[in-house]
């Protein structure tokens, strides 16, 4: 579906993307996980044809580079910034893009999308009056108006309230269930863990590793920590087999409490970069 080969992009002395390669299969939800400034948005911009890489190639659907307008027909982008016309209503915004994409039956399509993002009740209100979360959802709808095969979501939950965030995550799941290929950039590891079939860890413009969440944790997450309480005493045991360890501790008797901490993507990121994702 989407292939990036040895993509490099520099802005003056700063290398934003440093040799990223990727193969994303049709129907896959792929997460690009990394801190702010890691190169995620630049990678997305190259994938959409907004930026031309200094070297490397991008191929979408085997049709070629997204610098070709015909190739761009198959991708939908929800950029990190809200990209809507504030003076237009929600419906007018979507109709504008639907007409440009020459969507057949645009009114029905726009109505369906407004229902999908739960903004049908505000369809005729100006976007300038919307909350951040509502704008985000409409931004996402604008990316879907032409029913693209590949959907690029660049930090779609940045700066939204928990309710809108949950709606957006539900929407991404619904898109995945429809068989859309999704590239989802985020610096929230729990979102990547919940949504993505595979995750690529990006830092300083480089792809550090790619795999399923469990593969990445197995490779880089380290061992689980079992904390066993016996009255006021607490023992911490680091182990690769927490189930056996818990059984062994219960066998020894006197256990009043057990807590098992399994490694997560944060631990993976720490192991790969030497720093926390939120630093």
């Amino acid at each position: 579906m989407l292939t990036l080969r040895a993509i490099r992009k520099s802005f003056g002395p700063t290398t934003a993307v440093d040799g990223i390669s990727l193969d994303i299969a049709a129907g896959e939800v792929f997460g690009l996980l990394g801190p702010n400034g890691a190169g995620k948005s630049t990678t997305i911009a190259i994938t959409t044809g907004l930026l031309v890489p200094d070297s490397g190639t991008v191929d979408l659907l085997g049709l070629g580079s997204p610098s070709d307008p015909a190739v761009r027909m198959h991708l939908g982008l929800a950029p990190q910034e809200i990209t809507l016309y504030g003076e237009l209503t929600a419906r007018e915004n979507l109709m504008f893009f639907a007409r440009l994409y020459r969507v057949s039956a645009p009114h029905a399509r726009v109505d369906r999308l407004l229902e999908l993002v739960e903004l049908d009740g505000r369809a005729h209100d100006r976007v300038a009056t919307f909350s951040g979360g509502m704008k985000r959802r409409l931004n996402l709808a604008a990316a879907l108006v032409h029913d693209p095969k590949l959907v690029l979501l660049d930090e779609p939950t940045a700066g939204v309230d928990p309710q809108s965030r949950n709606r957006i995550l539900d929407l991404v799941r619904a898109l995945a269930a429809e068989g859309k290929t999704i590239v989802y950039t985020t610096h929230y590891m729990e979102e990547a863990a919940k949504l993505c079939d595979r995750v690529g860890i990006v830092d300083h413009g480089r792809m550090l590793d790619v795999g399923t969440v469990s593969e990445l944790i197995a490779r880089h997450g380290g061992h689980s920590t079992v904390t066993v309480s016996r009255g006021e005493a607490h023992d911490r045991v680091v182990t690769a087999d927490p189930v056996s360890e818990v059984a062994r501790q219960f066998g020894a008797g006197g256990v009043t409490g057990v807590r098992v901490e399994q490694p997560d993507l944060e631990a993976v990121f720490l192991a790969l970069t030497g720093r926390s994702l939120r630093e």
Partner: protein, 247 residues
């Protein structure tokens, strides 16, 4: 979808947007007020005792220097500021359709403002027996001048996300385009520059071509001049958008 349909979609959205903000009303009121003020108070519309609209049209270039940038400044700078340029640049067609659609919308808007001055024409027709052909050509010249300035402004608007900078750059550029044909400037040049150079500079001036048409004569060279300025700056606009699309 062909280019004409895409341009029509962009045109409709852009044109409507003028009337969804106070810009349209403010622009039109100021334009109509100043055009009338200059024609009656400075141009001596009544004192001349001539049934023509020369006092009205002769100030249009100077009005446009300040009013056209107010329209053109937002064309691309606003898209850049709000980030919408990122989305429209990923649309499955080239930049030229967007550039032409936005330009035509802005031109239609300023042309409507110009058309609203037809009360001047009605007035002078009521007072005397003007040469309607001359007036029609003068309206055409004014519309072409507005279009040329808009094309310049659209190009400059594509270079920045700051509308104030876009306004100032456009005002200065339009002023220079006029000044090159201003009699005082040409007289100064004649003092030391060869006549060929002076004529060359004068021929690049929008003022020279505008005044030529304002007299009621459609000279193909004047029309071509405005067409060339419009096309040249629209092409530059396309290059500027493609060059800076990811900024």
């Amino acid at each position: 979808m062909n280019a004409r349909q895409r341009i029509a979609v962009v045109f409709r959205r852009e044109f409507r947007s003028y009337f969804q903000t106070p810009l349209a009303a403010v622009f039109m009121v100021i334009f109509l007020f100043l055009a009338g003020f200059f024609a009656f108070n400075i141009g001596g519309f009544y004192e001349r005792n001539q049934a023509d609209l020369r006092p009205f049209f002769q100030f249009h270039p100077w009005l446009y220097v300040f009013l056209v940038p107010a329209v053109s400044m937002r064309l691309w700078a606003e898209e850049r500021r709000t980030g919408t340029i990122e989305l429209i640049m990923t649309l499955p067609f080239g930049t030229a359709d967007l550039v032409v659609g936005k330009f035509l919308a802005a031109w239609a808007f300023t042309s409507i403002a110009l058309a609203l001055t037809c009360s001047m024409w009605i007035t002078v027709s009521w007072l005397g027996n003007p040469d309607h052909g001359t007036i029609i050509v003068a309206y055409l010249a004014s519309a072409l001048l507005g279009g040329a300035f808009l094309a310049v402004g659209a190009f400059l608007s594509a270079l920045t996300k700051n509308q104030v900078i876009a306004f100032v750059l456009c005002a200065v550029a339009c002023f220079v385009l006029l000044l090159a044909g201003f009699p005082a400037v040409l007289d100064f040049l004649r003092g030391w520059a060869p006549s060929g150079v002076v004529e060359g500079i004068a021929s690049t001036s929008a003022l020279t071509h505008y005044e030529s048409m304002m007299r009621g004569v459609i000279d193909l060279r004047d029309v071509l001049y405005f067409a060339l300025v419009i096309v040249a700056f629209l092409v530059l606009n396309v290059f500027a958008i493609d060059w800076k699309k990811s900024d």
